[in-house]
């Protein structure tokens, strides 16, 4: 997907020093922020930021646009909520189980979806996600419209009680920064370089002997797994897993976060998630106008602001962010 602007230089080696500074700044922000802002809100931001980063891995580095990423968020949410509530798993096991379920779903849907590219890939992932949605709508264990409520947060490793807001915040913070670093590591590994090569010129990558479908599947799988990690954590934070997280509007929302923050930028998804979650918080009482606002942001971003917030910033300072 060569048309995504500002990508070519996104990972030049000389850009790493200031990226590290920005990364540390971001961590510092999330450490200080709970003293100023509402911790639940910040945990929501971090969950969605990880979700958006996972999505960005796929669109920004593999050039694949999934319109069905909500299925991973929701699946992991349901799985971890069910494990924690019904089977009495400890939180770390519940999160792992949810993430594993999302990874499995990623493997199955990925094998199907990577058979087509571009627009078809988007339509196929959307359709598969809709199928998953209908499954959860009817399956008995999900509680239908009510979702799985009152999920116990439990004790981490059987020791730390997560019903304390601070302990939970620390866990979400660890999950988010771990996931973020993992993505960073993957993007800058030889694996990430091959992904970029495939994105820029698929036939050339193929002629160099790379099994492009395997690389695409791996990227898709990794994106699904991390989206699942975000979803499983989110279910514990809110003590709830519901249909909202599997609905196609959620898939659209994560596209919007990444588009607004900056496609293919390192920090864009985090900024995008922060803006969109904040917007939803403040506009929540306005009902459908939230949807309208999201639509307007989509249109503006596509027509005039394709680099996104972070992409524009990077252009101004002349360094990749």
């Amino acid at each position: 997907m060569s048309a995504v602007p500002g990508l070519a230089g996104a990972a030049r080696a000389n850009g790493h020093a200031h990226q590290r500074a920005v990364f540390l700044g971001m961590l510092a922000f999330f450490i200080v922020a709970p003293f100023v802002a509402y911790p639940i809100f910040l945990m929501k931001v971090m969950c969605f930021a990880l979700f958006a980063c996972a999505f960005n891995l796929l669109i920004g580095y593999a050039g694949l646009v999934s319109f069905g990423h909500a299925m991973f968020l929701g699946t992991a949410g349901y799985a971890s909520a069910h494990a924690a509530k019904v089977w009495g798993f400890t939180p770390e096991l519940a999160i792992l189980f949810g993430t594993a379920c999302a990874a499995l779903l990623g493997l199955v849907t990925g094998l199907l979806a990577i058979r087509r590219q571009g627009i078809y890939f988007a339509m196929i992932t959307l359709a598969l996600a809709q199928m998953v949605y209908f499954f959860y709508l009817q399956a008995p264990f999900t509680g239908g419209e009510d979702g799985i409520q009152a999920v116990p947060r439990g004790k981490l490793f059987g020791l730390i009680d997560l019903s304390s807001q601070w302990a939970m915040y620390a866990l979400v913070f660890a999950v988010f920064s771990g996931g973020f670093l993992l993505i960073h590591r993957a993007v800058h590994s030889p694996f990430g370089q091959v992904l970029k090569a495939i994105r820029e010129n698929e036939s050339r990558a193929l002629s160099l002997g790379y099994d492009i479908n395997r690389y695409k599947l791996l990227a898709y799988l990794m994106s699904a797994t991390l989206a699942g990690l975000a979803g499983a954590t989110k279910a514990l934070v809110f003590e709830l897993a519901s249909l909202t997280d599997v609905h196609w509007t959620m898939s659209g929302e994560v596209v919007l976060m990444v588009l607004l923050g900056g496609l293919g930028t390192v920090f864009g998804p985090v900024v995008g998630a922060l803006i969109i979650v904040a917007m939803e918080n403040y506009l929540a009482q306005l009902g459908s106008w939230v949807t309208v606002t999201q639509g307007v942001i989509f249109v503006i971003c596509v027509l005039t602001f394709r680099r996104g917030v972070v992409g524009e910033l990077a252009r101004v300072i002349g360094k990749p962010l």
């Binding site: 997907m1 199907l112 571009g118 359709a127 598969l128 596209v255 588009l259 639509g295 596509v302």
Partner: protein, 294 residues
């Protein structure tokens, strides 16, 4: 009378509903295919435009007293014209970019349109009264056939086949197919390709609006009536492949029928059967039943 332990009344009733759904799948996927052929854009707004068609017919009736038959003619023109405005103002700026931006733009537009209508009219449907000429029905012996439903099936078949005829068998259609193949060359021959693109988009949208008017009396007029439908239609498009006009018509009707049959024999899967078929088709013939890999 029973077939496979299912009363024939129920079986044929569900098949009829399947055919009705199929009519809408066919009309909508046809519109998507026509637009995609020339613009290379998947029109995510299609579902919202279908919904606008139904609302437009409702406004005509409620505010101006204009009835169903006139609405059938006026609404596609109005909504098609709105589509042309969208194409000129927004979509035309994106042709040089990756096609995915077109998808994102039309997705945003769909959110805006559906959000505004939902804010205004809520999520409960508004009934649209059936035209008096088509109320009632006839008994075919093995089942009861409401007149309006028969009309929907016939009308959508006629419109689909007419579209197929124009595109595949007329001179205008040959320009269109040529422009799909190689727009630069067609433009060099003196055909105004940008205008053709605009009109094609308008036509595709008009098809969606036409489907919307026909849907009004069957389903209710509802701000979200197109939102979930369009995802099913996407799956229909993936199954049929975008290569062939006739292919998308056949796939639309066939999948409607299969969905109806599923409702009879295994109702739990009726929501998902089309997606399952999509998955199977992707495994066997990734380009779609009538498509060519591109």
């Amino acid at each position: 009378m029973e077939i496979f332990g299912i009363p024939t009344q129920a079986l044929f009733g569900q098949l009829l509903i399947g055919l009705i759904n199929g009519s809408f799948y066919a009309l909508l996927s046809l519109g998507l295919a026509v637009i995609f052929g020339l613009l290379n854009i998947i029109n995510f707004t299609h579902g919202a435009q279908y919904m606008m068609g139904a609302f437009c017919a409702y406004f005509l009736l409620a505010w101006l007293g204009v009835g169903y038959w006139w609405a059938l003619a006026i609404v596609p023109l109005v909504v098609g014209a709105l589509g042309i405005v969208i194409e000129r103002l927004m979509l035309s700026r994106l042709y040089k970019l990756d096609h995915l931006y077109g998808l994102l733009l039309t997705f945003g537009l769909a959110l805006i349109i559906q959000g505004v209508f939902r804010q205004q009219y809520g999520t409960s449907g508004i009934p649209y009264t059936m035209p008096a000429e088509l109320s009632g029905g006839r008994n075919l012996g093995f089942m009861f056939l409401p007149n309006y439903r028969a009309w929907v099936i016939v009308a959508s078949l006629v419109v689909c086949l007419a579209t197929w005829f124009v595109i595949e068998k007329t001179k205008l259609g040959s320009y269109l197919r040529a422009a799909t193949e190689n727009p630069q060359l067609v433009q060099a021959f003196g055909v105004n390709v940008p205008r053709m693109i605009t009109l094609t988009y308008g036509f595709g949208v008009a098809l969606a609006a036409f489907a919307g008017v026909m849907a009004g009396p069957i389903y209710q007029v509802n701000p979200l009536m197109g939102a979930d439908l369009i995802i099913v239609v996407f799956a229909v498009v993936v199954i049929g492949g975008m290569g062939s006009i006739l292919g998308s018509i056949i796939t639309g009707f066939a999948l409607g029928l299969i969905e109806g049959l599923t409702k009879v024999f295994y109702p739990e899967a009726s929501n998902t059967v089309i997606f399952i078929i999509m998955a199977i088709v992707l495994m066997i013939k990734p380009a779609g039943l009538f498509g060519t890999q591109r």
